[in-house]
Structures are given as structure tokens and as C-alpha cells.
Subunit: 324 residues, 2 copies
């Protein structure tokens, strides 16, 4: 069994050892650029932690770990183009550094590379592994489409929002864990519990992201705060405020989220004032804590010694920035 720190070192080494380059360079350079930016590499970490949890050989899951991170970065590359986001991880996004067609084509090639990593090594569970990966990939795209649909809707419910982030964010964490467990040939019930641990952790992770966008410290979070408000995004915070606010507050929020002022400062401050008066921050933190608790209960159900679960327990705490 590896510690979380050891697993992080292993993941770092796997990516340092892998060469993503190729010919023509116009196709591969944006891929190298994207994958060299690093990021937290949570998904390959979860995948290998799951293999290790069930006593599997993490070397067998090596290329799946690379594949799942490659897929995740492909989705970010195309998302940045669709959202017209200029910056990712402090660097210009691919469509800005190159152009739109390069972002489309290099993204598509990354998507193929992701699958190629997955099919590289034979394994007795290869077919269920690939099916889990394929189902997960498709669900993420369904989630992205729901998110796009929400932009033009004014009647999004909290349940619909939770289902959207389940698809868009949570299933990839859960899928990474399930795939890792399949490499270790874990039993069905344990895989299901681990998958559910991934879903609840993923939901909580997205709610924390929503929270940080409004209340995070720019220096530690690495993003400008208030961008979701500026961009009129339907987040958990807004939907909760619309549910809990009085009719004046509801109406004012709807008005504010229909505007796009040149300087968004006043708009952001007014929205935050409403959120504060309703103690939305506390509501979201409560929901995150509930989801975290549920995730831990799923982890507890898995038929493995408690100390073997420590890396995943710790990883979830780190992701949610909580000490429990």
C-alpha cells in the first residue's frame, strides 16, 4: 500500500516519463503544452489509489491513469474554446495561443490519444474498463450540454443543477475510481461503494468550487473571484438564494443575472450582499459537509482494512479543504 504522498510522486513521475509529442508538430504541440501545465492530476491519482486499495498492481493501470488525465484535459481544451476562456492554469488557452481550428483538431487528437492509452495494455477486465470509460465520457458531454442549456433557462431547479454537476464533474472522479478498482479485479459491491464515494466527493468538490468563486481568496484559488456572478452562471449559490430569498431578493437577483455591465464590481457586490443576508455560504458549507459525510460512509462500507483507505480519505479531505 502506498501513502497519498507516494502516489502523488508516482503520478508525477508517470507524466514526466511520458512523451506526448509527435508529427506534425502543429497537431501535437498544443497537446504537449496542455499536459505540461500539470494541474493537480486528481483523476489519475484516484485511479491508481483505487487499484492500490484493492491490492492491484498499479503498473498495470499506468496507461489508464495517463488516459483519464488526457481525456480530462481534452474536455478542458474544448470547454475553454466553447466558453471563450482566455486563461487556464495561468497560461493562455490553446485557442488563444494558437487558433480555434487548432483547438478543435488538437483536442480531437487528444481525445483519440486518451482512448489509445486505455487500449494499450491487455487486461482480463479490459472490456468493462473500456465500457466504464466510454459511459463516463458520454455522461460528461451530456452534463456539458445541460450546463449550456441552463444558460438560457430561468427555471433551473437545485435538483437539476445537482444532476448536471453529477454528470459534468462527479462521474469522472467516480469513473476513475471504478476503473482503478477493475484493474485490481475488486468485487462488485466494493466497486459500487467506491463509485458512490466518488460521486459524493465530486458533487461536494463542485459545490466547493462554486463557493470559492464567490468567497475564495484569489491568491490561493488562482482564479478571479466573482466570475460566475459576472458571467451570469447558474451556480448552487444562486439557486439556493433564489429558493431561500424573499420575493424582492428573488426579483433583484433575476434582474442582476440578466445584465452584463462593463465593470461588474457593483453587480458582484450587490449579489454577494444578498447571499450574505441569506447566509448562503453557510448553506453551501452544510451541503458540502453532508456530501462529505455520505462519501465517507460509502468508503467505510468497502471490505478493506481501514488504513488501506487512508489515501482516498485524505485525498477527499484535501479536495474539499476540510479536516474531519
Amino acid at each position: 500500500m502506498y501513502s497519498l504522498k507516494e502516489l502523488q510522486t508516482i503520478v508525477g513521475q508517470i507524466f514526466a516519463d511520458e512523451n506526448f509529442g509527435g508529427t506534425p508538430s502543429g497537431l501535437y504541440d498544443p497537446i504537449v503544452y496542455t499536459l505540461a501545465q500539470g494541474g493537480k492530476r486528481i483523476r489519475p491519482l484516484m485511479l491508481l489509489a483505487a487499484t492500490d486499495l484493492f491490492g492491484g498492481d498499479i503498473e498495470q493501470a499506468r496507461y489508464a491513469a495517463i488516459g483519464i488525465e488526457t481525456f480530462h484535459n481534452f474536455t478542458l481544451l474544448h470547454d475553454d474554446l466553447m466558453d471563450r476562456s482566455p486563461v487556464r492554469r495561468g497560461q493562455p488557452t490553446v485557442y488563444r495561443k494558437w487558433n480555434e481550428n487548432t483547438a478543435i483538431l488538437s483536442g480531437d487528437a487528444m481525445h483519440i490519444l486518451a482512448w489509445r492509452y486505455f487500449i494499450r495494455q491487455p487486461h482480463k477486465n479490459l472490456q468493462p474498463i473500456l465500457q466504464t470509460f466510454g459511459d463516463t465520457c458520454l455522461q460528461i458531454h451530456e452534463g456539458q450540454q445541460f450546463d449550456m442549456n441552463f444558460e438560457s433557462r430561468n427555471d433551473v431547479t437545485i435538483d437539476e443543477y445537482m444532476e448536471m454537476i453529477r454528470l459534468k464533474t462527479a462521474v469522472l472522479l467516480a469513473g476513475a475510481l471504478k476503473i482503478g478498482a477493475l484493474y485490481a479485479d475488486a468485487d462488485k459491491d466494493d466497486i459500487e461503494a467506491l463509485y458512490n464515494f466518488g460521486i459524493d466527493t465530486g458533487l461536494a468538490f463542485q459545490l466547493r468550487d462554486d463557493l470559492l468563486d464567490a468567497y475564495g481568496d484569489t491568491a490561493t484559488f488562482g482564479k478571479q473571484t466573482g466570475t460566475d456572478i459576472k458571467d451570469n452562471k447558474k451556480t448552487f449559490l444562486l439557486l439556493t438564494a433564489l429558493e431561500q430569498g424573499n420575493s424582492n431578493q428573488q426579483q433583484r437577483l433575476r434582474e442582476l443575472f440578466a445584465t452584463t455591465p462593463q465593470d461588474p464590481t457593483a453587480k458582484i457586490n450587490e449579489v454577494l450582499d444578498i447571499y450574505n443576508s441569506l447566509d448562503i455560504r453557510h448553506s453551501v458549507e452544510q451541503r458540502i459537509a453532508q456530501l462529505h459525510d455520505k462519501a465517507m460512509q460509502h468508503l467505510d462500507r468497502i471490505q478493506r482494512p481501514d488504513d488501506a483507505k487512508q489515501p482516498l480519505r485524505q485525498l477527499a479531505c484535501n479536495l474539499l479543504d476540510r479536516n474531519v
Copy 2:
């Protein structure tokens, strides 16, 4: 053994029986729209013909046949966006009928669906089948990138052009045949010969496409003639004319292919006059005939009875519009 006509009926039925729809409709409707347009479905036809050639059960290759056509249509969907093509198969392209983001996201979902079809049925050769598919997918994208690179280059050689169309067009026909043969567990040498048959047929097919763009009849070809000239595309015709023309003709062609007049008629006519004076049409037809002959020699080498090869022989003739 099925006749070509029977195989065409089977392919038609397979696509009629398949439901490509799903939720959210914003994601799946463009996929249904694209795949309902039909087209010649050459790639699934080749795949099943190859399975049948080696006595395999084409039912086992059913989902690979759907997968390869889904992948091909995904590449067309993204190509149309990158090329800003307004019409495909007489219908508005997806980015025009919906919008750019829908074209990106639905295309990506189609790409996933293609892989999901491939992994749907277990098969003893599943890993080499998936590897052939993955290699093929990546090569097509490399070819597309080379094609994009050629737009801004003035020193493209005929050899470079042939390599580009090998990647962009020929490997998918060859890959479809190889995958079909793998479903029938054909032997290595036969698979190699069949793959080479696909490459040479694919190259000839692309040269015929280049030829028809300049000399085709709009009514039967379904596209406007002269669009490659209008769009300053480096085709086999232009590169041959640049190689065979005198220095005046070379210079004039370079001048003409650096302009984009509002009304391209005069430009198209002047280019065609140069092509005609050099008998470029005959040069291209000769090259197509050579490639077709080579393709037939590869087919002849395969250790199967001659009449079993008839569907593929006939399919190549149909594709190249030749009676031999």
C-alpha cells in the same frame, strides 16, 4: 458469401435499425441529423465485405461497422466547422443549422459513440481491432493537420500531397478492411494485402475527387465544380501542373492561387485552360489507373477464391467510376 448488393442492403438495414437519439436532445439531435443523411456508407460496407471475404460472421462486426461510420461522420462534422462549409449532402452543416459550440460538443459526443460501438461486443481480437481503429483515427487527424499546413505553404511536393491524402483519406478505408478481416480472424499476410488494397483504392479515390472538382458534372457529382481552384486548395491537379508547366505557367498558377476574387469564374477558367494545355486530366487519370491496378494486384494476392473477392473488386470499380 454475400454479393455487393446484398451487403449494401445489410448496411442500410443496420443503420435503419439503430437509434442514435438520446437526452439531452441538444446533444443528440445533431448526431441523429448527421447520421440520417446517409451518404454512401463505404466504410461500413468495406468492413463487412472484409469480414465476409474471410468467411467471418458479419453479425459480430455489426457494431464496428456502425462505429466506423459514426467516426467518419464525426470527422466530417468537425471538418465542416473548421472549413466553414455551409452545406454537406445537400443539407446545412451542423454548425450552420445549430451553432459552433453545438458542432464542437455534438461532434465530440459522436466521437465517443464511435468508440462505444467498437467496445460493445467482446471478441478474441478486440485489442488489435481497437488498436487498428485508434491508429487509424490518429493518422486521419495527422493528415488533416498536414492539409491545414499546406494552405500556407508554396512548396508542397506531390510526394507530400500523396502522404497527406494517404493519412487523411486512404487509411480509413484500409483500416475498415483490416478491422473487418480481424473479425474473421484472417491471417497476417492476407490482412496486409487487404490493407494495401485499401490504401491504393483510397489514394485513387481521393485523386478522382480532385479530378471531379475540376472536371465533374455538377448534377452527378453533387458539388459545384472548381471549388478547389476557388479556395486555392493544393490538389494533385495543381501540383502536377506546377511540376509539368513551363516557368510562365508556373508563375501564373502561383499568382492565380494567391487571389480570392469575388466572382471566381474567370480565375477558374484560366486555371482550367492551363490544366487543359498540359493535359493534366490525362495525367491524373493515368495515376488513378495505376493505383487501381496496384490495388487489384494486392487483392489478387489474398488466399481466397476469386469469386469471394468480387464484392470488393466491384466496390473499388464503383468508387473509382471505372469498368475494368
